[in-house]
């Protein structure tokens, strides 16, 4: 039944998924150590920072981070709790849909430290030569334009 010829594109896809999972794992581990964020928490702060007012509705964050409503809600509650303190709930009285979360100064600080870590991990992966040439070339693209920065972070949930 198995045909290696017809499996070509599936194998390429699995190779890509595999590389993505390995790098995600490294990002998780590195961020946990410093500044003490999960990868999804980092993405929450990153997408908030792209908003001019540094605040977003949960629905907007959910679309960007790519989590289910309940998972994102749990994440934000955790990040608003004093133990993390990276986010602050913001209820707008004259807008019934107006429950926002916004970044605190501590959150902004964690994000900045997190960005340095994430860039180090990604740059190390590109420099290591472990990526297929096409991916290395894609990841090494200059910072001209910012395709993807508004997209979601690709969570499966």
């Amino acid at each position: 039944m198995q045909s290696n010829v017809s499996n070509g594109i599936l194998n390429n896809w699995l190779e890509l998924a595999n590389i993505g999972a390995a790098i995600n794992h490294r990002l998780e581990e590195a961020l946990k150590e410093e500044p003490g964020l999960s990868l999804n928490e980092f993405y929450v702060l990153h997408f908030l920072s792209l908003n001019d007012e540094k605040k977003l509705r949960l629905q907007q964050l959910q679309e960007r981070v790519g989590l289910s409503q309940s998972a994102l809600s749990r994440l934000v509650v955790r990040m608003e709790a004093p133990r993390c303190g990276a986010l602050r709930r913001n209820v707008c009285e004259d807008d019934r849909r107006g429950v926002y979360t916004e970044m605190t100064e501590l959150g902004a600080d964690k994000l900045e430290r997190g960005r340095r870590i994430v860039e180090q991990v990604l740059e190390a992966a590109v420099r290591s030569g472990e990526l297929p040439a096409e991916l290395q070339s894609f990841m090494s693209r200059g910072a001209v334009g910012n395709a993807g920065s508004e997209g979601n972070a690709g969570n499966a949930e």
Copy 2:
């Protein structure tokens, strides 16, 4: 704080994650319709088919599919239940670690139909021109070699 220059590699990574999530979503939807598998169920069958005896220990499957022990265990129980019937439990009496799951004929049939669907979705994504040139080139690689076919399927869990 936000620097678009230093965000270059992070944006590339987010773009990649975003494309991966969109294609994963299409694969999930297409497989659900026909042959009625989740993407992880498809991966379980695919990795089993790569084993000469078409059977693997749960631990081996777990590494390949990239799920946690509990998630993989739930998945396999569901696939062994009569309602799905794609897998069959196999307990080897003279090997204490010997709990395997193996593919049934129905499972092999579902896998074959699933492979056609997966290839169609992936080929359509490549042909659509929506992928960045580097990724299109990577995905279009010939079927020579089979890098990645032994790896895991890149689940976050």
